[in-house]
């Protein structure tokens, strides 16, 4: 009994202490989500443990029972990292905007426009040297993404249009307009997608023989990690980062302090858009070789979950983007291994998102509970 009480107190201390909450609350949210998802899987009549094991196997964290030739756990794992790369960029795009109080829900659209422009400019120029083509793809992706992000910022500061509404409108506009161009000019009649880009321009190296495996190598994965670290430093340790946070907390006070709020907001949207652009090219000219018309990548939306789960902290986001990617990537294998519909992956991300959104409330609640406990004891 006494022991039980002690355990309870220990848990409360972990969850209630503001010092540890940055890590304890997201983990608590994840555990809650796993439990809820497990219940759903049980209701559907499958074994959640088998399902979760299937997820891990599919993502290359655990070994599958058997592999095809040249395949193995490392190949799966590298593919997971390949998919994680755009996710990480996209979540960083959401995070920096959110730091300034802006909700960049237009990441998907910015990814699409960056990916499309890079595809038709560099992706189809097969003669170009890969050493020129790949950096150019990244550069074009960044610039186009920055412009698309900047447009939203411009609408916000010039016309006072809520960034959420304008991003959503632009998402639809990009989606339909590029669908028109893809369908009329760049369509591959078999796949019903845009024609594949050349290997010279692709940011993922395919079928690389390493040891006994043939695997993907996402060349921008390390770049994404480095960008996350730089961004962490920028947001927390520089005067510009301080200005951005000030605007996010209280833009009136930021203006009063002499910060040029509009200019900073525009900067933030340019950076956010550039990151989204990198997500776009690492997705449409990396993980994939082509663009599916009339659709937006779900990465743009999942990245909101990733960013929330990572507390908008670039380092936290490295971990949360890994987690969400594992769920996403493992779902296909889980379906065959455990017989749970693939859609459960999206549902799991959604549930994690739901619990993350309650994070602020949980922080205060647990802190208050802890305070009460301390007062009594």
């Amino acid at each position: 009994m006494n022991n039980n009480l002690k355990n309870k107190n220990f848990l409360l201390r972990l969850l209630g202490d503001p010092k540890y909450q940055f890590i304890s609350i997201p983990i608590f949210a994840i555990i809650c989500s796993l439990i809820v998802s497990a219940i759903i899987i049980l209701i559907v009549g499958q074994n959640p443990l088998t399902a979760y094991k299937g997820l891990m196997q599919g993502a290359g964290i655990l070994a599958k029972d058997k592999y095809a030739s040249f395949q193995g756990q490392p190949t799966d794992f590298m593919e997971t990292l390949d998919k994680m790369t755009p996710m990480l960029f996209a979540a960083l795009a959401v995070a920096i905007a959110l730091r300034a109080g802006l909700f960049n829900i237009g990441v998907s659209g910015q990814m699409l426009i960056a990916g499309f422009v890079a595809t038709i400019t560099i992706g189809y120029s097969r003669q170009m040297s890969p050493f020129l083509a790949k950096p150019l793809v990244a550069l074009i992706g960044m610039i186009i993404g920055a412009l698309a992000g900047g447009l939203i910022g411009f609408f916000k500061i010039k016309f006072n249009i809520n960034e959420v509404v304008s991003s959503i409108m632009l998402n639809y506009i990009y989606q339909y307009v590029f669908s028109y161009f893809i369908n009329t000019k760049y369509i591959d009649p078999v796949t019903r997608q845009s024609r594949n880009i050349g290997a010279n321009a692709r940011l993922t190296l395919m079928q690389m023989e390493i040891g006994s495996y043939k695997m993907r190598i996402p060349i921008f994965f390390l770049v994404a990690i480095i960008v996350a670290i730089i961004l962490y430093f920028f947001m927390n340790r520089t005067s510009q980062g301080l200005e951005i946070s000030s605007i996010g907390f209280n833009s009136d006070a930021a203006q009063y302090a002499g910060i040029d709020v509009n200019r900073r907001l525009l900067h933030v949207m340019l950076i956010s858009g550039a990151l989204a652009g990198l997500a776009g090219v690492t997705y449409y000219l990396g993980y994939q070789p082509s663009i599916l018309p009339k659709s937006l990548s779900s990465i743009g939306f999942d990245s909101i979950a990733v960013s929330l789960l990572g507390n908008n902290n670039p380092i936290g986001i490295i971990f949360s983007s890994f987690l969400i990617t594992v769920i996403d990537r493992g779902a296909t294998y889980m379906r065959s291994a455990a017989g749970v519909e693939q859609e459960i992956a999206a549902l799991m991300s959604g549930i994690i998102l739901l619990f993350s959104a309650m994070g602020v409330y949980m922080r205060q609640k647990f802190a208050a509970l802890l305070g009460k406990n301390r007062m009594r004891g």
């Binding site: 909700f103 509404v165 632009l170 669908s179 009339k294 999206a346 959604g350 959104a357 602020v360």
Partner: protein, 319 residues
């Protein structure tokens, strides 16, 4: 051609309107509602599920389509209660909650549709058959030149929506509840001081918002195709938000905004057809409502006055 523009325009504008009115209820009470898209989808899912079960157990061709609207309303309200719990009870950020609700709605309905089709109907499908909603014309009036389009070949749900328009207008502007709701969006402290529970009013407002969105979503499901499928998430919820902002959070101006969107869309399609352009061209005309929204916002967002307490979390303890 003019008739087609009117007929298609109305069948798009009116469901949009009912969703936008849902948004007005929520936002006038002070709750920013970006969740409309998710609410309408979940409502349509419930209506679709209802129809799928009915049509599998009853052979009769005439399953009660009207009932499906009620089920959709209930489903929308049920799902909206999750949104309300998030931002009224848990006091989470309303914008974030709205986005969460949308993402979860797509995921949840996608998963459930597949799972239910698998388990109960033994078919791998992401759709529910929902049947056809009756269309009618008013004799004589339909033959009036130009205006005849307003009276011909319309869905019965359009009449229901107009009826709901009257009811929601009455409720918001003429009753005690409506007065309390509008006061909550302006100065919740004053509402509290008058002995009215702010969070209760807001909770109800969000539920109404869900019910109306659910109806709108179901109507879209009928008018897009005879299915419930993920295509119901085509952005109508966000268009509705644009419409209500453009309509200055008031019902009648929002009605006008919805009509503009509807007719812009149908006119684009008809012109495309008339010019015998390829089907890809419709991708371009599809952008019309969104482009129009952006343009309208550029020109009008300055003169707009959002409810004063919109997005403000109400905490009784804090005074």
């Amino acid at each position: 051609m003019l008739n087609n523009i009117i007929i298609d325009g109305l069948s798009f504008a009116l469901p949009l309107l009912i969703i936008a009115i849902g948004g007005i209820y929520s936002e006038r009470s002070g709750i920013t509602n970006l969740a409309l898209e998710g609410l309408l989808g979940f409502g349509a899912f419930c209506g679709g599920l209802f129809m799928a079960f009915l049509s599998s157990s009853f052979t009769a061709a005439q399953v009660p389509v009207y009932l499906s609207l009620i089920v959709a309303a209930l489903g929308g309200a049920l799902y909206a209660s999750l949104f309300a719990v998030l931002c009224v009870v848990f006091k989470a950020n309303q914008v974030i909650s709205g986005v969460v609700i949308n993402i979860l709605s797509v995921a949840l309905t996608g998963f459930l549709t597949r799972q239910i089709n698998q388990n109960f109907f033994n078919q791998p499908s992401d759709k529910f058959q929902i049947g056809v909603f009756p269309r009618v014309s008013v004799p004589f009036l339909k033959d009036i030149p130009v205006l005849g389009g307003f009276f011909s070949n319309f869905y019965v749900f359009e009449v229901i929506i107009l009826l709901l328009l009257a009811i929601t207008w009455y409720l918001l502007y003429k009753t005690r509840f409506g007065m309390h709701l509008r006061a909550c969006g302006d100065n919740p402290q004053s509402v509290d001081a008058a002995g009215i529970e702010v969070n209760q009013v807001r909770f109800k407002a969000v539920l109404i918002s869900g019910a109306l969105s659910g109806i709108g979503g179901m109507c879209f499901a009928y008018s897009i195709s005879a299915n419930f499928s993920p295509t119901v998430y085509m952005g109508a919820g966000f268009l509705a938000i644009a419409a209500l902002i453009f309509g200055n959070w008031r019902i009648m101006p929002t009605f006008v905004a919805c009509l503009i969107f509807g007719f812009a869309r149908s006119a684009g399609n008809e012109i495309g057809k008339a010019m015998k352009l390829s089907s890809s061209f419709f991708d371009l005309t599809m952008t019309l409502p969104y482009v129009l929204t952006l343009l309208l916002l550029i020109f009008f967002s300055d003169t707009n006055k959002a409810p004063r307490a919109l997005g403000e979390i109400y905490d009784k303890g804090k005074r």
